[in-house]
Symmetry: C2
C-alpha cells in the first residue's frame, strides 16, 4: 500500500494500459490535474487547438495504439468534443474521456458556476449526454475512485467503446492508499459454446466447395489481424475486407482479393466470387450503407457464418457467451480444419505511374499513390469523394488504414493523422477534400509547432463535390470559396522551416511532390488541384439507387 493522489492513480493506470500521450485542451477545472500530467515522465501532453480536433486526434491515436485518452474541461470543453467521441463510439474505438469538473463542494452549495447550464446540477446533464455515446460514465468520488477508475478502463477495453470520467478538482488532488496490483482483464466466456461453434464451422469449411472470408474492422480493434491471417493461410481460403475492415488483412497476401462493397464493388470479379460462394465467413464486420452499396449484398444469406464480438450467428443458431478473440485464435490454430474447395490466387501487378503533363484526375492519383506507399505507412482518409479512391488503394505489408466509413464526419482525418503519427512514428499520409479541411485547419498550429511529420494531400475542387453527386449540383450551398492554402501554411510557418507546402496541377508536379514527401521528415502539404467535375471511377453511379 502506498499513498497516491487520485489524479496520479488514474495516470498510472493509463500508462499501464499503454497510453503514452494525452490529448486535450486546458481549462480552469483541469489545470491542477494537468500539472500531474506534465510532471509524469511516462506521459506527454498534446495540447490541441480546440476540443473537437482533440477528440479526432485521440481517435486516430487509439486506432493505432489500441486505446487513447483525452482531457477537456467541464461543459464547454467536453461538449465541444461530443461529435468526435460519438465517432469513436460508432466505430468502436476505445477512448477515455477525462473531464476536469469543479470541486464537489460547489455543487453542494448550489452555486451557478461558469460552464454550467445555469443550474448547480449541470454535471448531471453532461453525464446524461455522454451516456448516449460511451459504454460507461463515472463521476469520481474520493471513496470509490479506485474502483470507478478500474471499472471504466475495463469497459473501454472490453467493449472497444469510449468511456467518460469526470474528475472534480478536489478529487484529483485527494490522497488515497492504493495497492500496486495490475489490472486484471480476465474475461468470462463459455468454453462449451466455443467448442460447438468450432465444430460447426469446421464441418462447414470441410464441406465447402468455395468458401470466402469477409473481414471487418473489429479484427483490427481486437488485435486479431495476425490470427486471421494464420487462419487464412493455413486453410487457403480467400479473403476480402469491406471498406470498414480495410487494413484488417495483409493486402499483399495472394489469398486477399480486394475490397468488397456489395453490388457496386469496382472489381466485379470480387463480387462474383462472394456471390457464388457456398460459405461466407463474416468476421468482425458490420455492413453499413456506404460500405455495402446500400445493403445490396447478393451473396446467399443461408451460407453465412457471422463471427463477431457481440454474437456468432449461422443457420438458426445465435451465440452470445463467447470471446471473439479467443474464438478467432482457436479457429486459427485448429489443425482439423481441412478446406478442399476452390481458391483464387491474386498476382497483383503494380501499374506503374508514368507522369505526364496532363491535369490530375482522381483515377491517376490513385495510380500514383499505389506507387507511393511502402511497408508500415499509414493512410488516413477523410470521407467524401476521396473515400472512393482511398479505400481501393492497395496497402503494402503492415500498412494501416484509417477512415470513418460509418460515422463519416468530414475533417476527421487531419487531426486523426496527428494522433496516428504520434502513436506510430510511421509515415502518415492524410488525404481529404477542401470542405473537410476547412472545418479543422486550425490544427495546422499543432502540426507545425509540434513538428508532426505527416503528409497532407488536399484534394481541392472548390466545393462539396460528393454532395453534388448526391444532390444539388450547381447549387450555391455546395460551392466553396477559394482559399490560398500556401498562404495559410505560411501563417504558421512564416520562415518555411518547419513545413513544405506544394501546389500541384499536373501529373509531373504531383510525382515530384510525392517524392519530396517520401524523403522529408517535415510536415508536407500537397494541394492537388482537380477539375470541379472529376470524380473517381468507383463513385460513378454509386448513389443511383
Amino acid at each position: 500500500m502506498r499513498k497516491i493522489t487520485i489524479g496520479n492513480y488514474l495516470l498510472e493506470r493509463l500508462s499501464e494500459i499503454g497510453i503514452k500521450d494525452i490529448f486535450g485542451v486546458p481549462g480552469d477545472f483541469n489545470l491542477g490535474f494537468l500539472d500531474d500530467i506534465i510532471k509524469n515522465e511516462d506521459l506527454n501532453w498534446i495540447g490541441c487547438t480546440n476540443e473537437l480536433n482533440a477528440s479526432y486526434s485521440v481517435d486516430g491515436y487509439a486506432r493505432v495504439n489500441g486505446i487513447g485518452a483525452i482531457l477537456t474541461t467541464y461543459g464547454v470543453g467536453e461538449l465541444s468534443a461530443v461529435n468526435g467521441i460519438a465517432g469513436s463510439y460508432s466505430e468502436d474505438v476505445p477512448v477515455i474521456h477525462i473531464v476536469g469538473t469543479p470541486k464537489r463542494e460547489y455543487f453542494k452549495r448550489h452555486m451557478i458556476l461558469h460552464h454550467s447550464l445555469g443550474t448547480s446540477d449541470s454535471f448531471g446533464a453532461y453525464k446524461k449526454i455522454y451516456e448516449n455515446i460511451t459504454s460507461l460514465t463515472v463521476w469520481l468520488d474520493a471513496k470509490n475512485a479506485i474502483n470507478q477508475i478500474n471499472n471504466a478502463i475495463k469497459y473501454a477495453v472490453f467493449y472497444k467503446k469510449p468511456v467518460y470520467i469526470m474528475i472534480p478538482q478536489d478529487v484529483a488532488s485527494f490522497e488515497i492508499m492504493a495497492d500496486s496490483d495490475l489490472l486484471s482483464f480476465a474475461s468470462g466466456f463459455d468454453l462449451e459454446e466455443h467448442k460447438e461453434i468450432i465444430e460447426d464451422v469446421k464441418n462447414k469449411i470441410n464441406n465447402s466447395n468455395q468458401a470466402v472470408i469477409i473481414s471487418g474492422h473489429k479484427v483490427i480493434r481486437y488485435g486479431l489481424k495476425s490470427d486471421l491471417e494464420k487462419f487464412v493461410n493455413r486453410n487457403g481460403i480467400n479473403v476480402v475486407t469491406t471498406g470498414f475492415g480495410k487494413g484488417s488483412v495483409d493486402e499483399t497476401n495472394e489469398l486477399y482479393l480486394g475490397v468488397y462493397s456489395g453490388l457496386k464493388t469496382p472489381d466485379a470479379a470480387i463480387a462474383k466470387i462472394i456471390d457464388t460462394a457456398d460459405l461466407v465467413l463474416i468476421i468482425g464486420n458490420k455492413f453499413t450503407d456506404l460500405t455495402s452499396s446500400f445493403f445490396q449484398l447478393n451473396f446467399n444469406k443461408d451460407n453465412v457464418v457471422e463471427i463477431s464480438d457481440t454474437h456468432v450467428k449461422y443457420d438458426n443458431k445465435i451465440f452470445t457467451n463467447h470471446s471473439f478473440g479467443f474464438l478467432v485464435k482457436m479457429l486459427a490454430n485448429d489443425t482439423n480444419i481441412n478446406y478442399k474447395g476452390l481458391s483464387v490466387l491474386e498476382n497483383r501487378v503494380a501499374v506503374e505511374f508514368n507522369p505526364t503533363e496532363e491535369k490530375i484526375t482522381y483515377n491517376r492519383l490513385q495510380v500514383a499513390l499505389n506507387n507511393y506507399f511502402v511497408e508500415k505507412d499509414i493512410l488516413v482518409s477523410d470521407v467524401g469523394t476521396c473515400t472512393f479512391l482511398s479505400q481501393y488503394i492497395q496497402l503494402k505489408k503492415d500498412m494501416k488504414f484509417i477512415m470513418q466509413p460509418l460515422w463519416a464526419s468530414i475533417g476527421f482525418s487531419f487531426p486523426a493523422s496527428i494522433g496516428a503519427q504520434i502513436a506510430s512514428n510511421s509515415k502518415v499520409v492524410n488525404i481529404l477534400g477542401d470542405g473537410a479541411f476547412n472545418m479543422v485547419f486550425n490544427e495546422l498550429i499543432t502540426v507545425i509547432n509540434k513538428q508532426i511529420p505527416i503528409t497532407t494531400i488536399l484534394l481541392n475542387n472548390n466545393g462539396y463535390t460528393i454532395e453534388k453527386v448526391i444532390h444539388g449540383d450547381g447549387k450555391p450551398y455546395n460551392e466553396l470559396p477559394k482559399v490560398n492554402y500556401s498562404q495559410l501554411i505560411k501563417a504558421f510557418d512564416p520562415e518555411g522551416e518547419k513545413s513544405i507546402s506544394l501546389r500541384v496541377t499536373n501529373e509531373i508536379e504531383l510525382q515530384e511532390a510525392l517524392v519530396i514527401s517520401r524523403s522529408s521528415d517535415k510536415f508536407v502539404f500537397i494541394e492537388v488541384c482537380l477539375e470541379q467535375n472529376d470524380i473517381p471511377e468507383a463513385l460513378k453511379g454509386f448513389f443511383n439507387k
Copy 2:
C-alpha cells in the same frame, strides 16, 4: 386551406417570427430542405465552415434579432453543434435547431446508415442528447407536423431556450393541407398575482430611502429595455447592470451607475450604493460566479425583491404564475409609485485618449475603445482576459453588448459577431484573445467571402493568459505558439481587396487602426500586441478568493 410541403410550412413559420437568415452546414440528409431555403425569397442561407461555428453565429444572431435558426445534418452535424446550443440554453437564447435526418423508412428497415452510432435507432440517442440542452425536442411526423412545428416555436419563444426539430428527408417534402392562420402567443398568467406584486413593490418603493435596481440579461431577452428605462426615469431610481445584464440599460442615462460585480466591482462607489440600499430590485438577473466575484454580494438579502421570468420573490413570498413582461410593463406604467428616496446622478466625463508611442496595455485599450464607440454599435466580447476590459466599457446609446459570462466558451465571439452583424447591419466590434481565435478562425472564410464588415480586435499575448492568472503561470500547457495573423488573413484574401489587416504595437498605431475601422465598410482585423503579463485592472486580485 392550401397545399404546402412540411419543409416550406416550417420556413413560413420561421419568417413569421422574424427570422431572415438561416445558418448551418449542408449534409446529404438536409439537401432537399436546403433547396426550399434557397428558393425562399424571405430567407437567406448562411453556409458556415463548420457546425460549432454555425451554432455560435446563430446565437449571436438570435441575441440581436430575438430568435434564430440553424440547420445541420444528422449525427455528425448536429453533434458538432452541441457546445454552441448548450451555450444558448445556458444563457437563455432562443435558437431553433433543425436537423435533416434520413427517410423514416430507413429506420423501419433497421438499416445501419452513415452518421449513425451503428444502430438503426441512433436518432433516439441524438434526441436524448438534445433533451438536456433544449426546452423541447421533436421528430417531425407527416401527420402531426403542423402541431409539432408550432409547438416547438412557442417553446423557443416562451422559454427563451433552444428547441430541436428533426426533419426526415421524406417529411420535408411531404405535402399537407394547412391553414394560413398566424401563430398565437397568448400567454397564461394570473392577474391577481400581478396586482399583489405591484401593490407590495409600490409600498416598498414608496417607503424606501435608497432603492437601487440591478438589471440582468433577461431584460434584454424579453425585449424590456425601454420599459425598464421608463420605470427608472419615471421614478428616479438608480440602476446598475451585472456583467450578464450589460446592455439592458442605456449606459448614458444619468441614473445608470455602471456594472456591478459584487465585492470586486472595480468602482467601489457602485458597490457601496448597493450594499447600503434599503431596497434592491433585481430584475431579470441571474448571479453567476464570474459576475458576482464568486457570490460575494454584500447587499442585505432581506431588502431584495427579485423579479424574473421564472419567479418573483421577496419577504417570504414566491410567485410563479406571472408574466415577466407584463409585470415589468405594469411597473413602468404605474403612476402611483412615488419614490422619495436618494438617487445619485452620474455625470460621465469621457477620458480622452491621447495616444503616445508607449506599448499598448489593457487599461489604455479600454480608454481608446471608450472613445471609439458611437450610438448603435455592437460590442461582442469573448471570455478571457478581455472580459475584464469589455464589461467595463461605457456603452453609447442603443449600443448592444454580447458576451457569454456564464457559458464562457472561448472562441464564441468571432462567429457570434457574424450573426450579430447580419441581424443588425450595425458596426460590430469583436474583441478576443489568441487562444479563443485559434479555436474558430476557420470562420474567416465566411467573414471575408460573404464580406461581413465586422472589426475583430485580437488581443495577442501568446498564451492562455487568464488561465495563467488562475493557475499554471509559466507552465507549458498555457503557452501558445506564434501565429502570423496577417498572413492568415491573406490566405482568404490574397489581393487584400476584401479586408484590412493591421498589426499594432503602440498607442498611436492603435488609434490609427481604430480610425480606419470606424470608416471602413470591410472586414477590419486589428492584431493588438500585448505584453505576456499585462492584465486589466479589474482582473487583478479577482481570482484570489
